[in-house]
Symmetry: C2
Subunit: 330 residues, 2 copies
């Protein structure tokens, strides 16, 4: 048995969650529902313009790993924070959930701070993300422990990381170590505009290395530059053994071994959509490593997503195993 | 018209809210339902032992001021944070709510950090508080702006502050400036054990300066060292023009001008009791400065308390004015 079921690599950050009306997004020049990168000056001025906020650990792949750890899965996470208060919060929340996290913290003398994401949650529950990457941008191959990657049944790569200068090399190192030891590679496309910035790199990696692709409708359309959802799914399925593509309230489409499944979403009152995709991936991956069939994995993913969007913050608050059990999935 | 309806002085801190079972309190040596002061070493070890947490601005008087500002009241707050990330969060959340906050931040070179309160929330919604004061302990008379105090209709003093070495002198300066300009003084007793530590100082201040006393049952019993709630209330009413003493689910007892009122609590599902007393005081003070009668102020206080205990965190999340209006109070 490998030490880890899943090791995630991503942007380590703390979410700063504030509520605002849609008009605020327009005034502040924020694209609704997407992730925009911002610098520290913008982070300061944007923060000053939002109402009272809550700080809750986030980071896409970190949320996924927290979800798997919450389910009792054996996990580790790789992502950079600084030795500051937000860094301590991020590290605490991940370890307290049971995940291994030993990435070296950037020292206090480093100018950049721990990354944060100013998440504006509108009355419809949609989240619009403004990300100051801080030190997490500088994750490098030196931060990848090859022995750890070799101990992973799966590694899980966060698409947002393609924005970092050394991330491609870091990913390559992690993939080589994982696959060399018989592990498998999953990736999430993260965001349509991130794909725009790095489409060729995404495509190369998917074709050559990826065993399981997580994405949503907007991302897969961006990836294959088409407006036909079906043909994008076909294309992905021709390149990757397993594709799990979420489509908001329409549920998830799964393609594998020449077969296809559609698993309906779980109807929920949306309070804050932050983390829906992350927790879908977490529950799906946990199900897979526990030996459940793909359709059940999709149901688990949908249930976990429905839990995380029913409250503020992108980490689970109710017991997901109890939830799975109540639906007869486990 | 004075510039401020209420200026609060208290311990500035960020709450670190984590859920745990009652057994955890026992294991960790935490007294249920009260506030314990802890040092940085204990803060680090206790934090390491709790589950994933949320960071939300707190501080008793700061919550009260945030509540009044939320209601549209003209407010300012005095309390010390450091120029660090938690200090920035505290300052932001108060200003974003509309309160003036200009206390000089302690510099980064200061060893102590911004204060934080590790709040353990048990399944019954009770909160048990573990406070690392940090720089907020060192609020001194130099931090009191006499002109600001003279511009206050009311000042609101947090009992917890009696634990600081220079706080008695700081309070005396604030009281002199406020009363000298025709303002009035309110105080909250904060905690029965804090009263134990400083009973004589509390009693002297109450007899000599206080126009409005906020407390709860345990605190007033501790103050007057009696087990008769009625006689403690009588005693307080003989010393202070207005007494508002909350008694959890039994509502609030108000004594003034030789009269007495009992205002029943608003039944609520308790999620997290943190801030109930703070928001009671905020809404009560706001009502008073708006010219409402004492019974209505008590109803407003109870409603605000019921809102804040219905969710995690000690600051209002729903529109309290809408709530007051729906009950026919405004």
């Amino acid at each position: 048995m490998k030490k880890y079921q899943v090791v995630g690599i991503g942007n380590a950050m703390v979410d700063v969650l504030a509520r605002a009306e849609d008009a605020f997004l327009e005034q502040a020049g924020i694209g609704k529902g997407i992730m925009q990168l911002i610098d520290m000056d913008r982070a300061v001025s944007l923060y000053a313009s939002v109402g009272p906020a809550k700080e809750i650990s986030g980071g896409s792949a970190a949320n996924t790993i927290a979800g798997i750890a919450h389910l009792g899965g054996r996990t580790a996470y790789v992502g950079k924070v600084k030795d500051d208060q937000l860094g301590a919060i991020f590290a605490h929340d991940l370890r307290a959930q049971g995940a291994d996290y030993s990435t070296t913290m950037a020292p206090r003398t480093e100018v950049s701070e721990t990354g944060r994401c100013i998440v504006i949650v509108t009355p419809d529950g949609e989240r619009s993300m403004n990300t100051y990457l801080g030190v997490t941008e500088f994750l490098s191959p030196d931060d990848i422990d090859m022995a750890q990657m070799a101990q992973a049944e799966w590694i899980y790569l966060e698409g947002y990381r393609f924005d970092g200068p050394d991330s491609h090399a870091a990913f390559a190192k992690a993939i080589a170590a994982c696959k060399g030891a018989g592990g498998r590679v999953s990736i999430t496309l993260s965001d349509p505009f991130c794909i725009d910035r790095h489409r060729d790199a995404f495509r190369d990696m998917i074709r050559e290395h990826v065993d399981l692709l997580f994405c949503n409708r907007a991302e897969i359309l961006s990836m294959y530059q088409t407006d036909s959802f079906d043909s994008a799914l076909d294309r992905a399925a021709s390149e990757v053994p397993i594709v799990a593509c979420t489509d908001s309230e329409n549920g998830v489409h799964i393609r594998a071994e020449g077969r296809r499944w559609h698993v309906p979403a779980v109807p929920t009152q949306i309070v804050d959509a932050t983390g829906a995709g992350d927790l879908f991936a977490g529950a799906f991956l946990w199900g897979l490593t526990q030996g459940y069939d793909l359709e059940t994995c999709g149901q688990m993913g949908n249930l976990a997503a429905s839990e995380v969007i029913s409250h503020i913050g992108a980490r689970p608050e109710s017991d997901l195993k109890v939830l799975f059990n109540s639906r007869g999935l486990t």
